[in-house]
């Protein structure tokens, strides 16, 4: 994959802005080159690459804002884009709470970028998959999954002199192993292909699939539980969407509303948003050009803060934390997309050993929130749900439906493992844009409300 670089991305924006006739103007470009290899039944069935350059113009006349988008950096197209945004601003009405575009401020260098990963080709993606399928076939099982490599380049310039550029890469390798009786899942995620270990992924998924036999159904009720990292990321997603932004706070929908400084969950739970952590997937500025800051959200169970973009910062008379999100995906008001949850040092075996009788959850499928105010999540488990008895996995379970407030779940944290990069189900294919550094946890109580058939 070819990196276009700072000058190639920024110069057309700056040239176009010089011709803009507006009180304020901004151009943001997000180039995404996505190469994805999907496999099923040990064979690649879809192998695709696309290269797309999305450009968004925001033009301000008075306090009226117009937005236009296209996918070309050609000078004539950028002029047309600014003209369209200007026309949209004329059609729009003044926003009395318009915060103005961002002022220049230095952002740290991009850390989540690896040139070797950007150059990975189709053969290297298939080779990684072959290492998984070879191991899986040797056990008489079949494998499915995805190997995805992305190169993104973000550039932003505005009429106040902001000029930001950052490349980033993402490498994602996932394996679902299916036996005649069950399934097992494992994956690696990082900003470098060096983070991916196909051999280990295959081994972990095979181990779970091999144990997933002779399933039984679990009766509804409260159980001790071990949530692996992907399951924790799923729960964190709902905290983010329902309670950690200026918008949800303003609407009174956040579990934080009116409760800052209060204990909202257990003392072992701490959460912050930190795009600057070198382990996570992020660029160091947001889509308004504001440098991202680390934001404490919950500390030792006490509500501390939410993230803001420029609009929500204006609402709350504070400054943006650098959490403006792609408006094609999230509404105005901030988005907490780089969650880091405090972890511990317990090994997986220790988490399981601490359970007298409970359930181990690998990951969830198609979750949702029937009670946003309590950050309640419901969803069914998949690809590794086991009964734990007397500190060891005793048998496989049919997938269960879990329904519980995240605040209640995290109140019961008793042990935590080390942090690991993980994405919830929704974010794993791009439906969401949240990435978590989070631990596996052992909790005192998880509420199971149903079971799938055997």
């Amino acid at each position: 994959m070819t990196v276009r670089g700072r000058d190639a991305m920024l110069a057309p924006l700056q040239d176009a802005l010089r011709e803009a006739r507006a009180d304020e103007a901004e151009l943001w470009v997000h180039r995404r080159r996505s190469a994805i290899t999907r496999y099923a039944k040990n064979e690649v069935h879809q192998n695709a690459v696309s290269d797309d350059t999305h450009v968004q113009a925001r033009v301000v006349l008075g306090n009226a804002v117009g937005i236009a988008g296209a996918n070309s950096l050609d000078p004539a197209d950028l002029r047309r884009l600014i003209a369209d945004a200007t026309a949209a601003a004329r059609d729009s009405a003044p926003n009395a709470e318009w915060p103005g575009l961002a002022e220049p401020a230095p952002a740290p260098e991009a850390r989540a970028y690896d040139p070797d990963t950007a150059r990975a080709d189709a053969a290297s993606q298939t080779d990684a998959i072959k290492r998984i399928t070879a191991a899986v076939k040797a056990r008489g099982f079949r494998a499915a999954g995805t190997h995805q490599i992305e190169l993104t380049e973000d550039a932003l310039a505005n009429s106040k002199g902001v000029s930001q550029y950052a490349p980033s890469t993402m490498a994602y390798l996932r394996a679902l192993v299916t036996s005649d009786t069950g399934t097992g899942w494992a994956e690696d995620l990082g900003w470098s292909t060096r983070s991916l270990d196909p051999t280990a992924i295959a081994a972990q998924a095979i181990e779970k699939a091999a144990v997933d036999r002779d399933r039984t159904q679990l009766a509804p009720g409260d159980y001790e539980a071990v949530f692996e990292e992907l399951a924790v990321a799923e729960v964190l997603r709902f905290m983010s969407l329902t309670g950690l932004t200026g918008q949800t706070l303003r609407d009174g929908r956040s579990f934080m509303a009116g409760r800052f400084g209060e204990q909202v969950t257990g003392p072992r739970f701490s959460l912050w948003d930190d795009a600057l952590d070198g382990r996570t997937l992020a660029i160091p500025f947001d889509v308004e050009g504001t440098p991202k800051r680390r934001v404490a959200l919950v500390e030792s169970g006490v509500a501390k803060g939410v993230v803001h973009d420029r609009q929500s910062a204006k609402w709350f008379d504070t400054r943006s934390t650098g959490h403006a999100a792609d408006p094609r995906r999230y509404s105005v008001g901030g988005h907490a997309g780089n969650l880091t949850m405090a972890g511990g040092d317990a090994k997986r075996e220790q988490l399981i050993h601490a359970v007298k009788r409970g359930v181990l959850i690998t990951r969830f499928h198609y979750t949702n929130t029937p009670d946003p105010k309590r950050a309640t999540m419901t969803g069914t488990t998949r690809d590794g749900t086991f009964l734990i008895e007397d500190g060891r996995i005793s048998r496989a379970l049919a997938n269960v439906r879990y329904t519980m407030s995240a605040l209640d779940l995290f109140s019961g944290i008793e042990l935590m493992g080390p942090q690991r990069l993980a994405r919830d189900w929704w974010s794993s294919n791009g439906m969401g844009a949240i990435v978590c550094l989070c631990p596996a946890i052992k909790v005192a109580r998880a509420t199971i409300t149903g079971s799938s058939p055997l």
Binding site: A48, S50, A70, S72, D77, A88, A93, T133, G252, T403
Partner: protein, 496 residues
Amino acid sequence: MQVYSTDARTDTARYSSGVPERDSQLADLVDLGVRRGAAYADARRVEREYEAVSVRDGEVESVTRSGDRGIGFRVIHRGAWGFAATDRGDETSLRDVVDEAFARAEAAASTRTAPVALAPIAPERGEYRTTLARDPFAVPVTERIALLRAADANLKGPHAVSRRGSVAAYRTRKHLVTSEGTDVRQEIVESGAGVAVTAVKAGAKPTQRYDSRLTRQTGWEFIEHLDLAARATRYRDDAEALLDAPLATERPTTLVFTPEFLALLVHESCGHPTEADRVLEHEIAFAGTTFMWPKDRGALRYGSEHVSMTADATVPGGMGTFGWDDDGVPAMRTRLIDRGTFVGYLTSRETAAALGMPVAIGSARAEGWQHFPIVRMVNVSLDPGIGSYEALLRGVADGLLLEAPASYSLDDKRQNFHFSTQSARVIRNGALEGYVRGVSFQSLTPAFWGRCDGVADDWELHGFLSCAKGEPLQLMRVGHGAAHARFREVPIEVRG
């Protein structure tokens, strides 16, 4: 081939420098693919335009215009698919796209034990355009804002803390050329609108009332037909009433669903599990599989005798309506559930061939030029019954009317689901009474549809803008028709 009339404007794309239009460009790409040894090649140019106006709390929140344009190129080479797409139209970029597609096909081929096969189709040529009376892009923005402000005024209630309304227009132009002689062009125009209100009162759970499914493949006349102002009044009244509504009582009870609610239930519990790529495990790692396997066709009891469901890409105005799918298969109609029995799948050419079916039913769809076509729903609908809605209600001594879905969650086989509702009304002795809150239900799919003892005749079409599937994500427009329907002895859960 079906040709529709249109009043839609047909000017060139707004942003044209990136991929200049040249009639022979797609054919040249396909020819190059064949010369390089592809067993099959197709090239698809897609241009998309979007305009939206949103009003928040009475003020214009945004006026947005966007568009994109590019070419996707697909080959079967050495028995495997390769796909590459670009937003650039220069010769170098297009040569790179061909190289990339072949490289990806070759890499994939090294893993395959059998070549990809396609169900046969005859070459198609023609043009499809949406039927519309008034181009939604041509409606003055001031008119759109005035309509939204009128609706917003009706959303105001004593406890409303957030009010939103929006209207949107979409236009997609597609041109597909294949190495088998297909050459089809389509221009699809869609119109949509939505209103939403959030109400908050001390000591009560916040309530929300919204609709995100008011879309149709037609012109501005659909927005006028919606009567957003009246809908806003209803949503305001619902949201205010629900703040003080008593909790429902947990019990098995009779549920009547609105067509709007059933549209989503059909989507999630019939549309998805009849997608053939789930059967072939292409989606097993992300979207999941199904509980409706080939051996079950003609045998699996999916629901009661009142339940028939149909996939139909020819429904006028449907968000899943088109002239041809992205395999070049013409739009058609097929039965999925016949009086309670599972009978059919949604298929692409590849999945039809893999399942030994002689004909693909035209369900290969890609969100944009960037995307590889995969099996998607078209318009999947619950067939209407014969009695009226009022007659259906009269058969309920004690039950609930569930008006619109809120949260929903499903397992990876689409067999185990959980839905909650924005608004539930009490039905007593055949008449609607007040509201109750906190209602949700979970069920297994065949058990749920097996409880259906009546479907009314007031069938109406709904449209979804963003059915999510695939890796990377592809959002797809789909349509769903339904009428009011009644379900007996459904256990409901109640959360305060």
